[in-house]
């Protein structure tokens, strides 16, 4: 067992937890958190394979992708939060109506 | 010496695990927040020990990043939740 294997297996588990969370949880904020956890799993798998392919330094391309990815994920989370808050203010709903 | 550093890091991680109980329990938002602050400090300590263990001094920059942003959450709680009924109990 090597370091990258531990984290790549963890990344798969995190991704599946995130997908399950998107289906199972009801509240908007929890759904947003679930998507962020999915994203975390994807980033973790990228970086763990970058560490496996390291020569004198780790593979920089996945690192660069993950750095941009984190910032983009945050921007999309902000948009999702804005939508969720607007929906709550207009209708009082805290989840999608067909989930009730 | 390396073994000693690993023991210290594992010990500090276990501290974080213990502290999770207070995040879970609450009861007030402020309780959860102060535990998160404790996690941040513990994380900084872990980063410093890792910097010595791996000999990678750039890790100190990560610790400073945590450090200068630690106050942000507290200020946002204090300002944003002010005069809000919120979850006090």
């Amino acid at each position: 067992m090597e370091t990258y294997q531990i984290y790549s297996l963890t990344s798969a588990v995190l991704f599946v937890i995130g997908i399950g969370g998107v289906f199972i949880t009801r509240h908007f904020i929890k759904k947003i958190i679930a998507t962020m956890i999915m994203g975390g799993g994807v980033f973790l798998s990228f970086v763990s394979f970058a560490e496996r392919d390291a020569l004198t330094f780790a593979d920089p391309v996945p690192h660069a992708l993950v750095i941009t990815g984190i910032v983009v994920a945050v921007a999309s989370a902000a948009f999702a939060l804005a939508l969720a808050r607007r929906i709550y203010q207009q209708t009082g709903d805290i989840s999608f109506s067909n989930d009730k | 010496m390396d073994v000693f550093f690993i023991i210290v890091i594992v010990f500090l991680l276990l501290n974080i695990v213990m502290g999770l109980f207070r995040v879970w329990r609450g009861p007030a938002v402020a309780d959860r927040l102060l535990t998160t602050q404790l996690f941040g400090t513990t994380g900084m300590a872990i980063l410093m020990v890792l910097a010595g263990y791996l000999g990678e001094l750039t890790l100190l920059n990560v610790a400073i990043t945590f450090n200068v942003l630690a106050i942000l959450l507290v200020i946002s709680l204090v300002k944003v939740w002010k005069n809000k009924k919120g979850e006090t109990k």
């Binding site: - | 010496m1 000693f4 210290v8 010990f11 500090l12 501290n15 213990m18 502290g19 109980f21 207070r22 007030a28 402020a30 309780d31 927040l33 102060l34 535990t35 602050q37 404790l38 400090t41 513990t42 900084m44 300590a45 410093m48 020990v49 910097a51 010595g52 001094l57 100190l60 920059n61 610790a63 400073i64 450090n67 200068v68 630690a70 106050i71 507290v74 200020i75 709680l77 204090v78 939740w81 002010k82 005069n83 009924k85 919120g86 006090t88 109990k89």
Partner: protein
């Protein structure tokens, strides 16, 4: 084991002790204000001792300066955090009491 290593080990152990004390305090103390007290102990002394130990171990002036900065910022941030959270909680409690009084 050289004398510097010995001092590092002692500092780290003492720092770990304060972190344990802080965590246990946050877990066991009965109300928020005493928990804040426990938190600041871990922040100030725990991090301070670990910082001192690692500064000795790393033994580079630039890194020692950074570690000192980390500790000073944490001192500042944790004492202000303590004040702000306590003040916030006091206001919240007053607000709640007033609402219950009505």
């Amino acid at each position: 084991m050289t004398i510097v290593e010995l001092i590092t080990v002692i500092f780290l152990v003492v720092g770990c002790f304060f972190f344990l004390a802080g965590t246990l305090g946050v877990l066991r103390f009965p109300d928020l204000f005493s928990r804040l007290h426990a938190l600041t102990k871990a922040d100030n002394l725990g991090l301070g001792f670990i910082a001192a130990g690692m500064a000795l171990h790393i033994a580079s002036p630039w890194a020692a300066l950074k570690i000192l900065l980390i500790w000073l910022f944490t001192l500042l941030a944790s004492s202000s955090t303590c004040y702000l959270i306590a003040h916030f909680q006091k206001e919240q409690d007053q607000l709640k009491n007033r609402k219950e009084g009505e």
